[in-house]
């Protein structure tokens, strides 16, 4: 059986690796995209189980990508984890994402979360 797929949209190299490792520990296959525009194109081709979305991206704003995800029926089942360093923005976005994490995000916390999400999706 294929591994569940997680797409990480994050422009900071180090941060994207931390996200990827945490998700891998949860049994996900990961792909990292560091540019908003590339992310927009890629999202029309793949159907990830989880998207980790940084809101602070070059070229296309994270909020626009979030809107694109919501507008696409194909991605209706996709869980979106928004990552932002802005606590005020995080509060405003609670309704629009499955989970909003405020940076700095603990590796252990995200890993534990990924493990739970991974097993939950496998059980379905």
């Amino acid at each position: 059986m294929n591994k569940k797929f997680a797409l990480i949209i994050e422009d900071d190299v180090g941060q994207s690796i931390v996200f990827a490792e945490a998700l891998k520990a949860g049994g996900f296959e990961t792909e990292i995209i560091r540019d908003g525009q590339v992310a927009t194109q890629r999202l029309s081709a793949v159907t990830p189980e989880i998207i980790v979305l940084d809101l602070h991206l070059p070229h296309v704003a994270g909020l626009d990508i979030l809107r694109q995800i919501h507008a696409d029926d194909r991605l209706a089942e996709t869980r979106v984890i928004v990552a932002t360093a802005d606590a005020v923005l995080a509060k405003e976005l609670r309704e629009q994402a499955d989970l909003v994490l405020v940076k700095p995000i603990s590796f252990k916390q995200l890993r534990d979360l990924a493990v739970r999400m991974g097993s939950a999706t496998l059980d379905e």
Binding site: D12, G14, Q15, I17, V18, E21, A25, H56, A85, D86, A87, V88, K103, P104, I105, S106, F107, K108, R111
Partner: protein, 496 residues
């Protein structure tokens, strides 16, 4: 003859062509305390008056060369001399002569032969009147000067100032106010304020001020051209009478608001850019710690602990800066949720406790038995408050102990106290220990580098959470910071 001294000693000019009359009048007036000049005709009288103005003139009518009427007319025609009162003294007793004298500008008329008492009495009255007149003139001048000063001040005040009556009509406005409306009318006075500046918030505070004398009502208003003004309205009352009108001051704060916004943006951006790399360091450290990249030796684990602690401290500093910016712009509000006070203390001490390791400093905590296991509060902010206080205590305490205590000072409050055995804070420094960007003394600052935001943030966060922070300290005997917060064990359902 009365020897009583005059109440109004004056400089009196006597004009008479008969030396005997001059002598008699002079002597009499001198005896009563006046100063006297005596001349023998109208021309000399005019010359004398122009040299120095007398307070009163006693003027004969029938004189050679220039008679009394003519002399009087000339004095009254000259603005310099027309205010000097002239009393005619003449042997001419017909009503016609008297009328002529008054028409020429005389204030009184005494017929010869005169009674000395009558002359003295009339001189006294007219000097008194002249005195009163001079006083009035001076008062008027003073008033005019005061008005000029007030006008100058009003005209040069940079803020717009407007006084409106209870009906909302402008009674008075300075030029700066006139420059505020985009399309000001030619005549401000008498026009309704609502017509010139139709801004609901502004009109609201003006009518609020009308209801409450003395208190100042303030609001920021934005004009259609995006200029921002801070309006302060105050109802005027006079001698306990009801409010007679409202004075409103409008200050252009467009620039200040812009600077504030830029400052907030700058701090937010800097904080964001500082937090991101710290988050990555923390992430990789945790990955190493949890063995993602293979097992580590004990020494390596220990080294990682130091990295984690330092990064968390650094994060705390950045969070302080970010919060300072948010508090200044009113963007920070507490997030209330259930948390365990014991866990809060344990976690905080775990995070920064390593700082005390190896220094011989004893770090401990004590939770009183009656403290509930769970409370409502903003866990993250409380963690920040406690971190700052403990971090501070460790920073300034070379040896001894740092103790965190949680207890209930009364039924409706819980307290979080951090005590240390550090150097203590001098009384005079305790007053400003919570001021931002300030540390208690320069010698300490050099030894303990910091931005001086910790305690200021702590106080602001505590205030935000509805609590209070107090400091108890004596030089040489350590310090105790106590945070007292409202005790909330259950949140009441809001009536819907």
């Amino acid at each position: 003859m009365s020897n009583q001294q005059t109440r109004y000693p004056g400089d009196i000019l006597i004009v008479d062509d008969k030396p005997a009359n001059l002598r008699l009048l002079s002597q009499m007036l001198l005896e009563h305390g006046h100063t006297v000049r005596a001349v023998i005709n109208g021309a000399r009288a005019l010359a004398s008056v122009r040299t120095a103005l007398p307070d009163l003139i006693l003027l004969d009518i029938k004189m050679p060369e220039m008679n009394g009427y003519e002399a009087c007319k000339r004095l009254k025609a000259d603005p310099q001399t027309r205010d000097v009162p002239v009393i005619f003294i003449s042997a001419l007793g017909e009503t016609e002569d008297k009328v002529k004298a008054f028409t020429a500008g005389g204030v009184d008329y005494i017929t010869k032969p005169f009674q000395i008492e009558e002359v003295l009495a009339r001189v006294e009255i007219h000097l008194g009147l002249r005195n009163l007149q001079k006083k009035l003139e001076r008062t008027n001048e003073d008033l005019a000067q005061q008005r000029d000063t007030l006008d100058t001040v009003l005209c040069n005040v940079a803020d717009g100032l407007v006084f409106t009556n209870p009906a909302g009509e402008i009674m008075l406005a300075n030029p700066a106010f006139g420059r505020i409306p985009l399309d000001p009318p030619e005549q401000l006075e008498g026009t309704a304020l609502s017509q010139i500046l139709p801004l609901a918030e502004l009109l609201d505070i003006v009518s609020d001020a009308l209801q409450s004398q003395g208190s100042v009502h303030t609001v920021d208003v934005t004009l259609p051209d995006q200029r921002i003004f801070r309006a302060s309205a105050c109802g005027l009352c006079h001698d306990g009478q009801p409010v007679t009108g409202v004075v409103t001051i409008l200050r252009d704060i467009t620039h200040d608001v812009e600077v504030d916004r830029m400052k907030t943006n700058f701090v937010s951006m800097v904080s964001h850019d500082l937090r991101t790399p710290l988050g990555v360091i923390l992430g990789f450290t945790e990955m190493l710690e949890t063995g993602v990249y293979g097992p580590l030796s004990d020494k390596q684990q220990g080294a990682l602990q130091h990295i984690v602690t330092s990064v968390k401290r650094q994060l705390n500093l950045v969070n302080n800066l970010l919060d300072q910016a948010r508090i200044e712009t009113g963007q920070l509000s507490p997030e209330i949720a259930l948390f365990g006070p014991a866990t809060l203390v344990k976690e905080t001490l775990n995070d920064i406790g390593i700082l005390a390791q190896g220094s011989g400093l004893e770090l401990s905590s004590h939770i009183a038995d009656d403290v509930p296991t769970t409370l409502f509060g903003d866990r993250q902010r409380l963690h920040q408050v406690l971190s700052n206080l403990v971090d501070n205590a460790i920073k300034f305490t070379k040896q001894g102990s740092v103790i965190v205590r949680v207890y209930l000072p009364d039924e409706s409050h819980w307290a979080l106290a951090v005590s240390d055995t550090g150097p203590g804070i001098p009384i005079e420094a305790q007053a400003y220990v919570f001021d931002p960007f300030r540390q208690i003394d320069n010698s300490i600052t050099r030894e303990h580098v910091g931005v001086g935001l910790g305690l200021s943030i702590v106080e602001q966060l505590v205030t935000l959470m509805g609590g209070e922070i107090t400091l108890e300290s004596k030089v040489g005997q350590g310090s105790t910071f106590t945070v007292v917060l409202p005790l909330v064990t259950q949140i009441q359902e809001e009536a819907s």
